[in-house]
């Protein structure tokens, strides 16, 4: 067997440096990252990257920041296993490997001029934060913007300071609920679906963007459809097991679609008949 270095390998890594970290919750940590070549990541909201720790492995992680106006980018990582736990041990100044960005993000051009209903369950806020920041950076291009947030308990809420800011802003409608309250919680209690009937939207001109755990989708979609939002205007982002990001390894397949290349963001209309989707 002979061996040679190849420049255009789909598995080549870009060096990147962690600029800043912040522990958000027990399980979730925030990282601000810059590519070693000084270039911006050049991603679309909703796209993901592969983060590498040499000798440990590689994981798909959503970009959690807007592409506009910055050379660095953010991710928010939940420690669940080998690579994500190792990532949590890293601090500012440490080096990691990056591939990507990958996949189809939110169709921002299609969204322009419309009202938005952004629905995040738990860690689903990470990819949606890239959309929310993008929309806030280009606020004039969009109509009314609603953000609905849900998670299990108050201590699992991500990006607390930002949530407060969104809550205060006059150009956003913001609501949040938890499944189980704690003694300090004064807000809504209940599943995220309970927030949907109350939002005041004009369904024909509203796009919904939904990201959350697998169990959430069916219930949320039912509510959105009964609100009258057209199937074409419901956007979902899916998590699958992913190894390559290049549409090859087969891990992420949803029937005939590859989540890593055809998604992770899909129009509901396109996947509603795929029983492996939800």
């Amino acid at each position: 067997m002979e061996k040679m270095v190849i420049k255009d390998s789909g598995y080549k890594l870009e060096k990147a440096k962690i600029l800043r970290t912040k522990q958000l919750t027990d399980k979730e940590k925030f990282f601000e990252i810059a590519l070693g070549n000084g270039q911006p990541l050049d991603h679309e909201p909703g796209q993901f990257i592969m983060i590498s720790l040499l000798g440990i492995g590689e994981v798909p992680i959503s970009v959690a920041s807007s592409p506009s106006g910055r050379d660095s980018f953010d991710v928010c990582v939940r420690a669940v296993g080998k690579v994500t736990n190792a990532l949590h041990k890293l601090k500012a100044g440490d080096e990691i490997g990056i591939r990507g960005p990958y996949g189809k993000g939110f169709p921002t051009r299609e969204l322009q001029g419309n009202d938005l209903l952004i629905i995040a369950g738990g860690l689903g806020l990470a990819p949606l934060r890239s959309l929310i920041h993008y929309v806030l950076d280009n606020r004039r291009d969009f109509g009314k913007v609603h953000i609905l947030l849900g998670c299990k308990q108050p201590k699992e809420l991500l990006f607390g300071d930002e949530l407060e800011e969104w809550n205060q802003r006059a150009d956003l409608y913001y609501a949040c609920t938890v499944d189980r309250a704690d003694p300090d919680w004064a807000g809504n209690v209940g599943l995220i679906t309970t927030l949907i009937p109350g939002v005041d939207i004009e369904p024909a001109r509203t796009f919904a963007a939904v990201v959350g755990p697998p169990v959430m989708y069916n219930f949320v979609i039912k509510e959105l459809l009964s609100k009258g939002i057209p199937e074409r205007q419901i956007l979902l982002s899916f998590e699958r097991n992913m190894k390559c990001g290049n549409g090859k390894c087969g891990r992420c397949q949803i029937q005939n679609l590859y989540c890593c290349q055809d998604g992770p963001v899909f129009h509901y209309e396109k996947i509603k008949n795929l029983s492996e989707a939800m």
Partner: protein, 355 residues
């Protein structure tokens, strides 16, 4: 058939041909491996080559997409250094049946679709492919006619047809031409030899018929009707989820990517290995959710990846009819039987609508 694209190799020159080829670069061909099994292995004389053989245990993908291959070499630690690499080997393959040539054509499409896989493509460009016609069925497991893979359909540099005293050889590429010129073993074709080839093909058309009673072009519709078929449920109890079927499939290419450090814990590699959608953790994500938990659902996925999904992406079937999955399955899960059951079920349903 244009005679200029055909040449003849007399059987008495076959040994000289094989040994000359083997001197140029590594040559592999089917060799017998005991009771009804064959494998592609290095050869240097004609005596080692099995001219009549049933599909080898592993298909040719083992050369195009090795079971394990290094993608990245690196030094871990504070300052990382990583280089993407490709492993390759100049190689000539002799004796590929039409089903296996079809398998490589499938893989070529997958790995040249964007984003291209340069590891595969680099390796592929170093491989010379010489096909060998099946004059009759290899065994009862084959279903190559069903998927249009029983006659040569390109994908080779040279293609051999055994006519008894000699081989008629189709020259398909410049690389094939160069082999003909440089091995000096070939003669011009005589008209009677091309006639014999034509007769052989006519005779084959009588022997090779669709092994399952459905017209090839109607297979996608059958699968469109079969997503909720009982046949999948029947496989739930039988399948052992061992992944043998996908390992031996010429068009299964799913893989896992893993890291490995050497003993210094500093230098390491990232490599990919064959993986299988039949294994339980394949579609599991963090948090434990498994998108294909049941064996029946994983079996269904396997069949749809052969007969339905690639039709949309690549406009061809990813089953080549080689029969390997059936030959190897310890639970006697049989591809032709499954297709027959789907057909029967779907016909039952059509009948019920009329009654």
């Amino acid at each position: 058939m244009e005679d200029t694209h055909y040449v003849v190799l007399k059987k008495e020159n076959f040994d000289q041909f094989i040994s000359t080829l083997a001197q140029k670069q590594k040559l592999v061909a089917p060799v017998p491996k005991g009771f009804k099994s064959f494998a592609f292995e290095p050869v240097d004389s004609a005596g080692q080559v099995a001219l009549k053989y049933i599909p080898t245990v592993l298909p040719l993908k083992k050369y195009f997409m090795p079971q394990r291959e290094t993608l990245l070499e690196y030094r871990a630690g504070k300052v990382m250094k990583a280089e993407a690499v490709v492993e390759y080997e100049p190689l000539t393959i002799f004796g590929a049946h039409t089903c296996d040539l079809a398998g490589i054509q499938c893989l070529n499409m997958v790995f040249s679709e964007r984003p291209k896989d340069y590891n595969y493509l680099t390796r592929k460009n170093k491989i010379t492919l010489i096909g060998l016609e099946c004059n009759e069925y290899c065994d009862a497991y084959a279903s190559c006619n069903l998927v249009d893979a029983s006659f040569p359909g390109g994908g080779y540099d040279l293609f051999f047809t055994d006519l008894g005293d000699d081989f008629v050889v189709h020259v398909n590429t410049r690389a094939g031409d160069e082999i003909v010129a440089s091995t000096r073993s070939f003669d011009k074709t005589e008209p009677f030899q091309l006639d014999e080839l034509r007769k052989l093909r006519d005779a084959k058309r009588k022997i090779f018929v669709n092994e399952v009673p459905i017209e090839t072009k109607h297979i996608p519709e059958l699968f469109d009707r079969s997503f909720r078929a009982r046949a999948w449920k029947d496989l739930e109890a039988r399948c052992l989820a061992c992944g043998n079927c996908t390992n031996v499939c010429p068009t299964c290419y799913c893989f896992d990517i893993r890291d490995e450090l050497d003993l210094t814990l500093k230098n390491g590699i990232r490599y990919r290995v064959w993986d299988s959608c039949q294994l339980e953790p394949f579609a599991k994500v963090a948090g434990g959710f498994n998108f294909r938990k049941e064996r029946s659902v994983r079996q269904r996925h396997r069949y749809y990846r052969k007969f339905r999904y690639p039709m949309e992406r690549f406009a061809r079937y990813f089953c080549t009819g080689c029969g390997r999955c059936t030959r190897t399955c310890m639970a006697d899960i049989n591809l032709k039987e499954t297709l027959n059951e789907l057909l029967k079920e779907s016909e039952d349903r059509v009948w019920k609508r009329w009654l």
